[in-house]
């Protein structure tokens, strides 16, 4: 059981974005022929952070239901949130909200209420920049996430456990990540173990595998390694996945292999859904 604790300001939860920023992230997605994986993924993470902030906003106040950490790994391990948050291992979501590295402006079409649309100015905050350089030191990156989470758990032993959303495009260049992944998954709160979800993106056109229940359908050895360090999706995440039309069932692991761009977006949506409920339910603390 577990994974049922209500997320409150007294007992917030932690989301760790673990991002592969190795040189190969400069390649395009398989079969897409457009854009670098690194740019797309940075965008997806910025979007996820944006949605987390909005979900915690009550009129003009951002409530700290979440804490956030970003760990990038490539040429080095630890490139995270930029701007005023640089150097902070974990930031409460209110600090994330108030300290984007920069804010871009644009326009969005919104309904005008009489059957048409109107162009409305909007602002897009940017926290994470795309990087693509160096190898894939996955063991060290998982170790860094472990340190961050262990420190955070000392202050937050109760409540919904931390979620790690790990995105990578290749095999580990510093050894088998199984031990580091399992060590991370052995940490937890009174409500359950740390959740580690893995999303693998590919530059090839290989068939994608989404949220599998067992590893027998997985042929690739590296994919099996990632499957084994992927947590089973708790019920509330499963609900969020099913709402998005994603093929997930009881026992599904939080794991996608050969993800295409839409799978990456869904991975972050599912991974940050937590309670699987709209904010007015869990904000009602």
């Amino acid at each position: 059981m577990g994974y049922t604790a209500q997320i409150t300001r007294a007992n917030p939860t932690l989301i760790v974005f673990l991002l592969d920023q190795s040189g190969s992230m400069a390649d395009p997605f398989g079969g897409e022929g457009s854009g670098r994986k690194a740019d797309f993924v940075a965008n997806a993470v910025n979007h996820a952070l944006h949605d987390l902030v909005i979900r915690c906003t009550k009129t003009e106040e951002v409530r700290d239901y979440y804490h956030v950490a970003v760990v990038g790994y490539g040429r080095q391990v630890g490139i995270g949130l930029g701007g005023a948050l640089a150097g902070m291992a974990v930031a409460p979501v209110s600090a994330v909200a108030d300290n984007p590295a920069r804010i871009e402006s644009g326009y969005r079409r919104v309904p005008d209420g009489v059957g048409g649309y109107v162009e409305t100015p909007v602002r897009y905050p940017i926290w994470v920049h795309a990087h693509a350089e160096g190898g894939t030191p996955m063991c060290r990156a998982l170790g860094r996430a472990h340190e961050i989470i262990q420190g955070w758990l000392a202050q937050h032993p109760r409540g919904f456990p931390p979620t790690v959303l790990h995105l990578t495009d290749g095999e580990s260049s510093d050894g088998d990540p199984t031990d580091a992944g399992q060590a991370l998954m052995s940490l937890g709160t009174d409500d359950g173990r740390v959740l580690l979800f893995n999303c693998h993106v590919s530059s090839s056109r290989s068939r994608k595998v989404e949220y599998p229940v067992d590893e027998s359908i997985i042929r690739d050895n590296f994919a099996r390694t990632l499957f084994r360090i992927s947590s089973v999706l708790p019920e509330n995440f499963l609900g969020a996945a099913q709402q998005l039309g994603v093929p997930a069932a009881e026992g599904s692991r939080g794991f996608v292999f050969n993800a295409d761009p839409s799978s990456v977006v869904q991975f972050y949506e599912i991974g940050t859904s937590l309670t699987g409920m709209p904010p007015h339910i869990w904000m009602g603390e």
Partner: protein, 253 residues
């Protein structure tokens, strides 16, 4: 004898645990003279929900003509939304507050109008969302609307929006009802958590439902607060703001 003597009105509001009255997003308004009563419940995650709920309840009660049909409610809601949006003009907001403001505010609403006529009164009500009206006669539940079962309370009820973009879709969910009230009948207008609890307690024949009504009739707010807190602690009542208006139809003419 004036209308004032023809109804007895009681109300009770209690914010969720740990919140102060200034954080409560449930609102009640009534005018015992014009026999109009309203309860509204601002959506927690919406921008400026507390003011929106208070505005809707107060303005519905005070409108020259109570908006009871979709044709009347639509233009009235538009007017209220424009007032709210105008009140936000000129404020410099952070990017996230700006985004919440763009989505506007939302609230559930239920309004009741009574009209004297012969023996008893006729009534008409309008509702949008999961705040409910209950009519009781001789200890029996006679009418419940727009919801009447605890299982009907979902996580995404239709709500009255302040923005233009969302209004038409919401108005399609507006529901109205009318009926007759005998002397001695009571009406309860309640926000969602309390409504769901009341329907559940009534179905289980839990004496707490009757006790709630008696305490309300007696304006014993201290005992009412204890009852609500006890039901919350026992997880029979969701920990949410609660608001209720109780209207008892008198016998005097």
């Amino acid at each position: 004898m004036s209308n004032h003597c023809r109804v007895q009105v009681r109300h009770f509001i209690l914010p969720k645990e740990g919140s102060g009255p200034e954080e409560c997003e449930d609102a009640v308004a009534f005018d015992a003279g014009s026999l109009r009563f309203a309860v509204a419940d601002g959506a927690t995650e919406a921008f400026d929900a507390r003011r929106w709920a208070a505005r809707l309840a107060a303005e519905w009660v005070g409108a020259v003509r109570a908006p009871l049909t979709a044709e009347e409610f639509g233009p009235w809601l538009k007017e209220q939304g424009e007032w709210l949006q105008a009140s936000w003009e000129g404020r410099k907001l952070s990017w996230y507050a700006e985004e919440k403001r763009r989505a506007g505010s939302f609230a559930a609403f239920v309004g009741l109008r009574l009209e004297a006529g012969g023996r008893g009164m006729s009534w008409r009500a309008v509702a949008l969302g999961d705040s409910c009206l209950v009519q009781r006669r001789g200890g029996q539940l006679l009418n419940a609307f727009p919801l009447s079962e605890p299982g009907e309370f979902g996580t995404a009820p239709p709500l009255a929006p302040s923005s233009n973009g969302a209004r038409e879709v919401a108005l399609a969910k507006l529901v109205g009802r009318e009926g007759h009230a005998e002397p001695g009948d009571t009406f309860l207008l309640m926000t969602d958590a309390l409504s769901a609890w009341y329907f559940d307690a009534s179905a289980r024949r839990d004496p707490a439902a009757e006790r709630f009504d008696s305490l309300l009739a007696a304006s014993d707010n201290t005992a009412l607060s204890e009852l609500v807190r006890g039901e919350r602690a026992a997880a029979r009542l969701k920990d949410d703001d609660v608001a209720v208006l109780r209207i008892e139809v008198g016998s005097g003419q």
